[in-house]
């Protein structure tokens, strides 16, 4: 657990996100945003972990995050995303969707745009549970079962999918520029295509057996049909949305709800998940994909789809190691990244070699030397 320090911040953290770094520069990220929840005054805050020039090991203390600025937020921050270098979108428990602007010169935050009743029931507000953006488009989902499409800098709503779901939608992610994937509290993944009119999903996938609510979803950065989800029972599921309506593999991960799952954006052989049980797992598939050893080792899986077998003579390196997910034979290694006996880890984000996570123990942990 070297290189990880706790920073106590006096607020329970619900979301942490790194500010994106431009892909051309090889810099490590140095700024992240956090959102709080369950406080009388919630806020979003911007933190900095200082200069990255010096990389000596004694500088662990200097990696302490410093608060740059803070802004009051109405309601719990249920989701937070960076729209671009300067703007952050948040989803609130009051049903509002807000865009904040971070002014670098004065190190202040201000509200740039606000959709107050983005999600609502007929009589009250409904919490907005997820937001995802593909600048300038913003998609939000909520407990009212609606999907909303906004555009930054435009006042109104671009599109509403009413009654998209009869239960609460918990998370959303982009599959392609015009397709999104949502997960809900009755354990279904639904694919939506914005090019089609109407309020019906183009595909519904779910697990047979118990309908376990799903809480998080993330798409593989390079292969758009591979998706990872986590739910109430703490199992990690990898799906291939092109085929069938069942997951490719199920792996036991945590002992309670998995709140977030992320593929590493540049190194997708690594996956990170965090959970209510206070653990943060780092999943690593073995990197020797040039050996065609995919056969014969797939024992410990719960479900496997036949089409995951490599086609003869096919490009082995493209075979996604996640599709075999064999946790017993060393193809998949998992490591705990945090000390034990912690309260729930609500959120994590990973970029480059840096990992940040926030917990219900009102602490933020930053690790700047994630082994990938």
């Amino acid at each position: 657990m070297d290189g990880i320090n706790a920073k106590y911040v006096s607020k329970k953290i619900s979301k942490t996100r790194w500010r994106p770094v431009s892909s051309s520069s090889l810099q490590q990220p140095d700024i992240f945003a956090t959102g709080s929840w369950d406080n009388e005054d919630n806020s979003i805050s911007i933190w900095s972990i200082g200069e990255n020039g010096v990389s000596s090991m004694d500088d662990e203390f200097e990696g302490d995050p410093q608060l740059l600025c803070e802004y009051k937020h109405n309601g719990d921050v249920l989701d937070l995303q960076f729209l671009d270098q300067d703007r952050i979108v948040t989803a609130s428990s009051t049903g509002a969707v807000t865009i904040f602007r971070h002014h670098h010169n004065s190190q202040t935050l201000s509200v740039s745009q606000l959709w107050e009743r983005a999600h609502h029931y007929p009589c009250n507000n409904a919490p907005c549970t997820g937001v995802v953006c593909n600048s300038p488009e913003i998609v939000t989902v909520g407990e009212d079962g609606r999907i909303m499409l906004f555009r930054a800098d435009q006042e109104g709503v671009l599109r509403t999918i009413e009654m998209a779901d009869s239960s609460a939608i918990h998370a959303v992610t982009f599959l392609r520029t015009t397709e999104i994937l949502t997960v809900n509290s009755i354990g279904q993944l639904k694919l939506w295509d914005f090019r089609q009119p109407g309020n019906e999903p183009s595909q519904i996938l779910s697990l047979t057996g118990d309908r376990v609510p799903l809480h998080c979803v993330d798409r593989h950065p390079n292969q758009q049909h591979i998706v990872a989800t986590g739910g109430q029972d703490g199992m990690l599921c990898i799906w291939d949305v092109r085929q069938g309506n069942m997951p490719i593999s199920l792996m036991e991960a945590h002992t309670s709800e998995m709140w977030e799952v992320h593929f590493h954006p540049s190194n997708p052989g690594h996956l990170f998940s965090c959970s209510e049980d206070g653990s943060l797992l780092h999943w690593e598939t073995s990197s020797n994909t040039d050996t065609p050893s995919l056969q014969g080792n797939r024992i410990k899986l719960l479900i496997i789809s036949r089409s995951a077998i490599a086609p003869a003579g096919g490009n082995q390196s493209l075979i996604n190691a996640w599709l075999t997910g064999d946790s017993s034979k060393g193809h998949l290694e998992t490591t705990h990244m945090l000390p034990s006996q912690m309260l729930s880890v609500n959120s994590l984000d990973v970029l480059g070699q840096c990992l940040v996570c926030g917990t219900d123990g009102e602490a933020i942990y930053v690790n700047r030397y994630v082994p990938i």
């Binding site: 106590y8 911040v9 006096s10 607020k11 329970k12 929840w37 369950d38 406080n39 009388e40 719990d76 249920l78 428990s93 029931y121 007929p122 009589c123 009250n124 409904a126 919490p127 549970t129 407990e143 009212d144 079962g145 779901d165 009869s166 239960s167 609460a168 809900n184 509290s185 009755i186 279904q188 639904k190 999903p201 519904i204 779910s206 047979t208 057996g209 118990d210 309908r211 609510p213 109430q232 309670s256 709800e257 209510e276 006996q341 912690m342 309260l343 729930s344 219900d360 123990g361 009102e362 602490a363």
Partner: protein, 645 residues
């Protein structure tokens, strides 16, 4: 009733005129709601005041204290019980140091926050907390024996009198240190704290200035250097050390008698301090600043081999000597005195009274209890002292909108009443979002509190139902395994169907899975929808079989039977025979049962769903004729069946 220990504090309510009105009140879990009243029906006051006892939990800096100490607390509870206590002592000492470092971090942060009076007050309180905890650690947890005891106490005092170093830095940084006005203060402070090396270093400056008195300075330097310090690591026993020390003391005394330092008052004072001359010590009251510093210095120079059991005598006498007899003893003084007397219970009691929240006494008592230092004498209400304090602390946390999550772990480690307290408190946590409800439910499930799980799920399901989110409501009742509520929701679905003719939320009903088995009504709903699906796919024989089974297996509620029989009509009217003879027989049976049971049909049921438009308006037909039609159709089917053999 017992006597009150201290006078209760008065809190004025703003805008309240005690001459005109009375004050009504009601107790809350951590506060009081207060309102003005004149005990009449009308003309009341529009304001309700909330009086909170504990402001500290709302301070953002102190919150870090609560969170960090929670982490340490949980770690402490998980230390394995099977190790003998002897091996655990270093662990306990290190945990105690952890707690103290958390307090210090908090203190430093408070001191950085500029100039608010409240913050200053809290910060000085925090310093006091660390002082008391440190002393408890030295005396109780570390339980230093004679010899090391004085050394530990010296460390204790040095930690809390850090201004010496600052002064020293200032003096040494000046142009001519030996002529700085605070020079001798620095030297004497070092000596009083037993820091002989530093004292010698500073003295050298003076020696350099007075070459004539070189011999004198050398003599004192020698004495300071030779002062024996007990080293617990070495093989030297306490008696050996005592002998050495007495020897040294005689030497110093000898120098005094010889008048070796008569020419320099300061040096003579130092020498007198070295022999433990109390009058001289008292002359330097300002440098000592507290009676416990005086105590420790006194012990260092007069009784370095003091035994723990003898401490209290010296403590009392030191306090009397040092303090003005007219001044009122402060709470801190009585706490420290109780500690020197090794009266742990008195320490805890005095701290409880002096501080306004239970954080300090709760954690300290818990640690002392782990060290097996508290005799478990049961309090009147059944639990022991440690549990009582932790329960009070955790209950206080529960009133906080955010820190309630920490309280759960504290309740877990109160074996007698913790669970009951938790059961009562957890239901009162406000549930604004599904995510929070999930966390609360998870806490309850992990502790097998099924009643609470059920009630929370019911609250959420009812909320969802009110907002017409049937899918959410159903998923909550599935989580709670609440068959009754699932039945209620299914009834809603069926009512909606009867009213509108279509099913809402098909994505839910079509994908119920094994959850269907939670309640009969839910199973019926799922199967009925399946029937519609089969009919839509033109799989008539399967649909027929299903429809029949719904009635014969008694899954369908009686009120729905008429609807089901009417659903059978289009199947009966098909050109090909769908119902077999046996099946038709059963249909007749059901019809008979229905008529004898006097259940009322729903005449307005739209039939467009099945794509069946009746040749006559069924809605206008009265009950018996309706049935007659059914009988006729069923019988004709039966005969056609029989005809084909």
């Amino acid at each position: 009733m017992e006597e009150v220990d201290v006078e209760p504090t008065t809190t004025p309510i703003p805008g309240f005129d005690s001459n005109q009105k009375h004050l009504g009140f009601v107790w809350g879990p951590g506060d009081i709601l207060v309102y003005e009243t004149i005990y009449k029906a009308s003309g009341g006051c529009p304001f309700v005041h909330e009086v909170r006892k504990d402001e500290d939990i709302y301070s953002p800096i102190l919150r870090k204290l609560f969170n960090e100490s929670h982490h340490i607390f949980v770690g402490l509870q998980r230390i394995r019980e099977d190790l003998p206590s002897k091996n655990k002592k270093p662990q306990f000492v290190s945990i105690s140091k952890n707690y103290r470092s958390v307090i210090r971090a908090c203190m430093e942060e408070l001191q950085q926050v500029a100039g608010i009076v409240y913050v200053y007050h809290v910060s000085s309180c925090i310093i006091t907390l660390e002082l008391i905890w440190n002393l408890c650690e030295v005396l109780f947890i570390d339980a230093a024996p004679a010899g090391s005891l004085v050394l530990h106490l010296l460390d204790w005092v040095r930690l809390h009198k850090a201004d010496v170093d600052e002064k020293a830095r200032e003096v040494l940084a000046s142009e001519s240190p030996a002529e700085h006005q605070a020079y001798w203060d620095v030297v004497i402070s070092y000596v009083l704290q037993g820091r002989m090396d530093e004292a010698r270093q500073v003295l050298v400056k003076q020696a350099a200035l007075q070459p004539a008195a070189r011999v004198m300075f050398k003599l004192l330097d020698n004495l300071l250097m030779k002062m024996p310090i007990f080293n617990p690591g070495e093989t030297q026993t306490l008696t050996e050390f005592d002998v050495k020390w007495r020897h040294w003391r005689e030497e110093v005394d000898h120098c005094l008698q010889d008048q070796s330092f008569a020419s320099n008052r300061h040096l003579e004072d130092i020498c007198k301090i070295l022999v433990g001359d109390e009058d001289v010590l008292l002359e330097y009251k300002e440098l000592l600043s507290t009676w416990y510093h005086f105590l420790v210095t006194r012990l260092l120079f007069s009784h370095p081999t003091v035994k723990p059991t003898e401490l209290h005598y010296y403590a009392q006498s030191s306090m009397h000597m040092f303090l003005d007899t007219r001044s009122v003893p402060e709470p801190l003084d009585s706490i420290l005195l109780a500690a020197f007397e090794f009266d742990i219970h008195q320490v805890i009691k005095d701290c409880s009274i002096a501080l306004n929240n239970w954080w300090f006494v709760g954690h300290l008592t818990d640690l002392l209890d782990h060290c097996k230092l508290l005799q478990s004498h049961n309090l009147h209400f059944g639990s022991n002292l440690r549990e009582f304090l932790l329960l009070e602390y955790a209950s206080g946390l529960f009133t906080h909108h955010s820190l309630w999550q920490l309280a759960v772990d504290y309740f877990d480690h109160c074996p007698e009443f913790g669970r009951v307290y938790l059961e009562l408190q957890i239901e009162r946590v406000p549930l604004d979002t599904e995510r929070k409800a999930l966390k609360v439910i998870r806490i309850c499930e992990q502790r097998q509190m099924t009643e609470q799980v059920r009630s929370i799920c019911k609250i959420m399901a009812k909320k969802a139902l009110r907002n017409n989110r049937l899918g959410s409501a159903l998923s909550w009742s599935i989580r709670a395994k609440d068959a009754a509520f699932a039945t209620l929701i299914s009834e809603r679905f069926l009512q909606d169907y009867c009213a509108k003719g279509t099913f809402s939320d098909l994505d839910l009903i079509d994908n119920l899975g094994p959850a269907m088995l939670l309640s009969d009504r839910l199973t019926f709903l799922g199967k009925y929808r399946e029937f519609h699906r089969l009919y839509g796919e033109k799989r008539f024989s399967d649909a027929a079989k299903l429809l029949l089974s719904l009635m014969t297996a008694k899954i369908a509620p009686h009120s729905f039977w008429m609807t089901l029989l009417t659903d059978a009509l289009p199947l009966l009217e098909q050109k090909e025979v769908i119902f077999s003879a046996d099946q038709t027989h059963e249909l007749m049976f059901c019809l008979e049962e229905l008529t004898s049971g006097k259940s009322v049909p729903t005449p307005d049921r739209p039939m467009q769903v099945l794509g069946y438009t009746p040749p006559y308006p069924l809605s206008n037909v009265c009950f018996p004729f309706n049935l007659l039609i059914h009988c006729f159709i069923i019988c004709s089917n039966l005969y056609s069946c029989l005809a084909r053999g």
